[in-house]
C-alpha cells in the first residue's frame, strides 16, 4: 500500500467544508444528554469543564495538523504505517476501524432509544436502524463529494434548532449558576472528560485531510468547527443548569431535548416532538461520516472493494443494533465507547507525535534522508 494518497483534484473539496465536517461529526447523540452527565461530575461549574475541553480540542487540532503536515498527503492509516511499520500499522488501523464501528453503533442506539422514549414507544428498533442505514448506504454510494454535501446541508437543516432555545433562556434562574468555582479541579477535569465523550468525532480530521484542496486554510476551518462545537455545548449546558433545578437535572437524561418541551408555537404545540424527529438529521452526518471512514480505511488497508464492504458494514451494524436490547446494554456500550474514544481521540495523537519526533531524530542521526519515504 502506498502511504500517500494521490487523487485527482475533482475529488477534493474546499477547506471551507472542513468546518462543517468536523462540527457535524462532533455534534450528534452526545449533545442530547451532555448537561446531565456533566452536572453530575462537575456540578455548578460544569461550564468550566466545557471550556477546558474546548481549549484542549484546539490544542488537539494543532497537534493533529502538525502530525499530518509532516507528510505530503496522507491520512491516519498512512501515518501509522509509516511510524509503526507495515504490520503493526495495519493492526492499529483495524483497531481504529473497530473503534469507529463501536462509535457508530453507539450513536445509532442512543438515538433509537430517544425516539422510543420521546415520541414512538412502539417503533421497532430494526426499522429505525434500517432507516438510518439506508440513508448511510445511499449517501456513501455517492462518493466523498456527496458525503461532504450531506454533512454540509444537514448542518443548515438542523442548526436553526438552536433558535427556539431563547424560550428556556427567559425562564432561566441565574442563581443556579452560582456559586462559581466551588468544584475541585479534579471534579472539573472529570467533567471535562465527560464532555470529551460527547464530542468524539474530531478524529475525522485525520481521515479527510488528504481530500482537502487548499491545505493552508484547513487550520482556520478546523479551529472554527471545534470552537462552534464548544459554544453549542456551553450554551446547552448553561441553559440546562439555569432552567432545571439541580435535582431535576439529575433526573433528566436528555436535558437538551427536554429544553424543547416548553417551546410551542401557534401551529405546533409540542415542539419537542418535531425536534426529536428532526434530530435524525443531526445524527445522519455522524453516521455517514463514520461509515465513510470505515469503508475508506478498509479500502486503504486491504484494498477491499468499496461496495461490498459498505453493504457488509451496514448489515453488521443492523444486526448489532437489533441485538443490543435493553437500556443497560446501551449504557454499557456508551460508557465503553466513551472510554475507548477518550483514549483514542484525546490521548493517542500525543503518542503518534512522540513516535514521529523520535523517528525524525533517529532518521536525522542515521542519514540526511528526507522524511518522504517514497
Amino acid at each position: 500500500m502506498n502511504i500517500h494518497i494521490r487523487l485527482n483534484p475533482d475529488k477534493a473539496v474546499h477547506a471551507f467544508y472542513v468546518f462543517f465536517i468536523i462540527h457535524t461529526c462532533q455534534i450528534g447523540a452526545g449533545l442530547m444528554g451532555v448537561p446531565r452527565i456533566l452536572f453530575l461530575e462537575a456540578g455548578v461549574d460544569a461550564w468550566v469543564s466545557v471550556l477546558v475541553t474546548g481549549a484542549y480540542m484546539h490544542v488537539l487540532v494543532l497537534l493533529m495538523l502538525t502530525i499530518l503536515r509532516n507528510y505530503e498527503n496522507t491520512d491516519l492509516i498512512g501515518v501509522q504505517m509509516d511510524l509503526f511499520g507495515r504490520w503493526i500499522g495495519k493492526g492499529l488501523g483495524v483497531l481504529y476501524i473497530l473503534y469507529i464501528f463501536l462509535l457508530l453503533l453507539t450513536v445509532m442506539k442512543n438515538y433509537i432509544e430517544v425516539v422510543q422514549v420521546f415520541i414512538f414507544p412502539q417503533i421497532p428498533i430494526w426499522l429505525m436502524s434500517a432507516f438510518m442505514l439506508i440513508l448511510m448506504v445511499y449517501s456513501i454510494l455517492g462518493g466523498f463529494r456527496v458525503v461532504v454535501g450531506t454533512s454540509f446541508l444537514f448542518f443548515f437543516l438542523t442548526i436553526w434548532l438552536v433558535l427556539p432555545v431563547y424560550k428556556p433562556v427567559t425562564f432561566m434562574d441565574w442563581k443556579h449558576l452560582t456559586p462559581i468555582f466551588m468544584s475541585s479541579p479534579m471534579e472539573i477535569l472529570a467533567g471535562a472528560k465527560q464532555v470529551a465523550y460527547s464530542v468524539l468525532g474530531l478524529e475525522i480530521l485525520f481521515f479527510i485531510y488528504p481530500y482537502i484542496q487548499n491545505k493552508k486554510k484547513i487550520a482556520a476551518a478546523a479551529h472554527a468547527g471545534v470552537f462552534f462545537t464548544t459554544i453549542l455545548i456551553l450554551l446547552v449546558t448553561v441553559v440546562s443548569i439555569g432552567y432545571f433545578s439541580p435535582d431535576e437535572l439529575k433526573e433528566t437524561v436528555w436535558a437538551t431535548l427536554s429544553l424543547f418541551k416548553i417551546i410551542s408555537f401557534s401551529i405546533i404545540e409540542r415542539f419537542d416532538f418535531l425536534a426529536v424527529a428532526l434530530w435524525m438529521m443531526v445524527i445522519i452526518p455522524n453516521i455517514v461520516l463514520f461509515g465513510w471512514i470505515i469503508i475508506h480505511s478498509l479500502k486503504r488497508l486491504f484494498s477491499f472493494p468499496k461496495k461490498p464492504s459498505l453493504y457488509i458494514t451496514a448489515l453488521m451494524l443492523f444486526f448489532f443494533s437489533v441485538l443490543i436490547e435493553e437500556r443497560i446494554g446501551i449504557n454499557f456500550l456508551t460508557s465503553i465507547t466513551g472510554e475507548v474514544g477518550f483514549w483514542v481521540v484525546f490521548v493517542y495523537p500525543w503518542l503518534l507525535y512522540a513516535v514521529l519526533l523520535l523517528k525524525k531524530v533517529f532518521r536525522k542521526g542515521n542519514s540526511n534522508e528526507k522524511m518522504d519515504p517514497n
Binding site: 473539496v13 474546499h14 471551507f16 425516539v115 415520541i119 414512538f120 417503533i123 426499522l127 429505525m128 432507516f131 439506508i134 440513508l135 445511499y138 449517501s139 454510494l141 455517492g142 463529494r145 456527496v146 454535501g149 450531506t150 454540509f152 446541508l153 444537514f154 437543516l157 410551542s264 401557534s266 401551529i267 405546533i268 404545540e269 409540542r270 416532538f273 418535531l274 424527529a277 428532526l278 435524525m280 438529521m281 445522519i284
Partner: protein, 478 residues
C-alpha cells in the same frame, strides 16, 4: 429512383427534351415550392438557347442552395427534404436545388409556460423557424449552432447552440458526445432526446430544462449554458441546470427585483408546502395528537368525527381525486375542461365532506398543496413534486414524523447525488457559491448583479463593469 419511392405517385418525374437533351426533373409534389420551381427552374430550363451542362445549371439558375450529388441514396434523401433534382442525360451527377416549402403553424403565444409580462412568443415545431428566432435574438457571430443528425431509421436534425466565447467547452463536449453516442432509430421529440441523454434516468427530477420560450432559451445561452434544438419539436433543451433554475421564470427578470425575489421565494415556499403539508397532517392525526394546539384539535376532531377511514387513506383518496381532476382537465378540450374543474372541485369536494368521507380541513390542505405544486414554472418539476408527495404520505401514515424526516433526508441525499451534464445539481447551495445566490434563490437588482453564475462555468464571468453600473449620467440643464 422510382423504386426507392415504391412507385409512389408523390414523386414527380418529368422528362424534358430540349435541344436533343433529355433532362429529368424530380421532386415530391407537396414538399417543394411549386411556384418558384416553375418560375426559376422550369422557365429557365425550357427557354435557354444553349445546351445545358451541370456547370451552367449551377451558374445560371438563380437559386443559391444548389449542389452536385452523385449517389441515388443521397438524391433520395435530398428530395425527401424538399429538394429538386435535375439530371441531364450524360452527366455523372445530378444537380440538387433546395426549394423546400414547409407548413408550420407560425409563431404563437406560449401555452405551457405562459408569462403575464414580457415576450410572449414561443417556439414552433419547425427547426428553421426556431433557428431564425434564436439568430434574431442573439445576432452575434459568436453564436455557434452545431449540426448533428440523430436517428438511424428516421434521421432528424439536432443543433447544439452555444456562445463560443462563453460556454464551457466541457459542457459542449458532454452534450456532443452524449448525442453522438446515441443509437436510436428515431427521436420522437426533444423531450425524448433529453431523457435519453440525461445523467440519471431513475430520478423523478428533470436534469435539463425543457422550455418553449425563446427568451428563456437565449438568456440561458448568454449565461454560458448550452442549448439543444431538435427538428420537429417545439421544446428546447438547456443544460447544465441546477434544481433552483427550475423555479426561475424569465418573468422574474422583467419585473422589478423586489417583486421578482418575492415571487421566487414564494415558489420555494410553495414547493415546501406542497411536499410537507399533507404528510404532516397525516402524521399528526395518526400518531402525534400532542403537536396540534388544543384549540385546533377541537375543530379538527369535530370535522373528522364522522370520517370512517384512517388519515392516510383519507389523504390518499383526496390526493388521487385531485390528480384525477388535473389529468381529466388536461385531456379534455378547453371548453369542457372548465366545466370539469367546477364539477370536480366544488361538487365532488362538497359532497365528499357531506358524505363523511373526508374532513373539511383536509380538503383545504390538499387543495393548498395542489395549488402550490402548480406554481413551478417548469411543468416537469411540478409533476415531480406531486409524485414525491405520495411516498411521503404513506411513510407519514406508517411511521409518523420519523417517516417524514426519513423521506426528507432521503430526498435531500438523492438531490445531492444528482448531476446535470456532470455538474452538481444543487449548485449554488452545494458546492457553496455565495455569489451565485444573486440570481438563483433571489433576484437582486441588476446593478448589484454584475456577474454571471459561475456554477455553469462561463468562460467570462463578468457581465459588465460593476463600478459603473450604478452611475446614472443625467443631462443637467445649464
Amino acid at each position: 429512383m422510382k423504386k426507392k419511392f415504391h412507385n409512389s405517385t408523390d414523386l414527380i418525374q418529368k422528362v424534358f427534351h430540349i435541344k436533343g437533351q433529355a433532362i429529368v426533373v424530380q421532386f415530391v409534389s407537396y414538399l417543394v415550392d411549386r411556384e418558384r420551381l416553375e418560375r426559376e427552374i422550369l422557365n429557365a430550363l425550357t427557354s435557354s438557347p444553349k445546351r445545358w451542362t451541370n456547370d451552367t445549371l449551377m451558374n445560371k439558375i438563380p437559386i443559391a442552395a444548389s449542389e452536385c450529388v452523385s449517389s441515388v441514396d443521397q438524391i433520395t434523401q435530398k428530395v425527401l427534404h424538399g429538394s429538386i433534382s435535375v439530371y441531364i442525360e450524360g452527366e455523372k451527377e445530378a444537380v440538387i436545388f433546395a426549394l423546400p416549402k414547409l407548413d408550420d403553424r407560425g409563431l404563437n403565444r406560449a401555452e405551457t409556460e405562459s408569462l403575464v409580462f414580457g415576450p410572449q412568443v414561443s417556439f414552433t415545431e419547425s427547426l428553421n423557424t426556431n433557428l431564425n428566432v434564436v439568430r434574431w435574438r442573439l445576432d452575434t457571430d459568436d453564436l455557434v449552432m452545431e449540426k448533428l443528425i440523430v436517428g438511424e431509421r428516421i434521421p432528424s436534425e439536432v443543433r447544439i447552440v452555444y456562445l463560443k466565447s462563453m460556454a464551457d467547452k466541457e459542457n459542449v463536449a458532454t452534450f456532443r458526445e452524449r448525442i453522438k453516442n446515441l443509437q436510436v432509430d428515431q427521436i420522437e421529440d426533444s423531450s425524448v432526446l433529453g431523457q435519453l441523454i440525461e445523467d440519471s434516468s431513475t430520478s423523478v427530477f428533470p436534469q435539463l430544462i425543457f422550455t418553449e420560450l425563446p427568451d428563456r432559451f437565449c438568456n440561458s445561452i448568454v449565461k454560458g449554458r448550452v442549448g439543444v434544438m431538435v427538428d420537429k419539436s417545439p421544446t428546447m433543451l438547456v443544460g447544465p441546470m441546477s434544481l433552483f433554475s427550475f423555479f426561475e421564470s424569465t418573468e422574474d427578470l422583467y419585473m422589478r427585483w423586489n417583486m421578482g425575489s418575492f415571487i421566487r421565494m414564494l415558489r420555494f415556499i410553495a414547493m415546501a408546502i406542497s411536499i410537507i403539508l399533507t404528510p404532516m397532517y397525516v402524521a399528526a392525526l395518526t400518531y402525534h395528537y400532542e403537536i396540534i394546539p388544543s384549540t385546533l384539535l377541537v375543530s379538527l376532531g369535530q370535522s373528522r368525527a364522522t370520517v370512517p377511514f384512517p388519515p392516510v387513506l383519507e389523504a390518499l383518496l383526496l390526493e388521487i381525486l385531485i390528480e384525477l381532476l388535473r389529468e381529466a382537465g388536461a385531456r379534455l378540450p378547453t371548453k369542457v375542461g372548465q366545466t370539469m374543474g367546477i364539477v370536480g372541485g366544488i361538487v365532488l369536494g362538497q359532497a365528499a365532506v357531506q358524505a363523511g368521507f373526508t374532513s373539511n380541513i383536509l380538503i383545504i390542505i390538499i387543495a393548498l398543496s395542489a395549488l402550490a405544486s402548480f406554481t413551478a414554472p417548469s411543468y416537469l418539476m411540478g409533476t415531480a413534486v406531486r409524485i414525491i408527495r405520495f411516498p411521503m404520505i404513506i411513510l407519514a401514515g406508517m411511521w409518523g414524523l420519523v417517516g417524514i424526516v426519513f423521506a426528507l433526508s432521503f430526498l435531500i441525499i438523492h438531490l445531492l447525488k444528482q448531476k446535470s451534464l456532470g455538474r452538481p445539481y444543487l449548485a449554488p447551495i452545494y458546492p457553496f457559491q455565495w455569489r451565485d445566490f444573486n440570481d438563483s434563490l433571489f433576484r437582486v437588482p441588476f446593478q448589484k448583479n454584475s456577474r454571471r453564475p459561475v456554477s455553469t462555468m462561463p468562460q467570462d464571468p463578468t457581465r459588465y463593469n460593476s463600478s459603473k453600473a450604478e452611475e446614472h449620467k443625467d443631462v443637467k440643464s445649464p
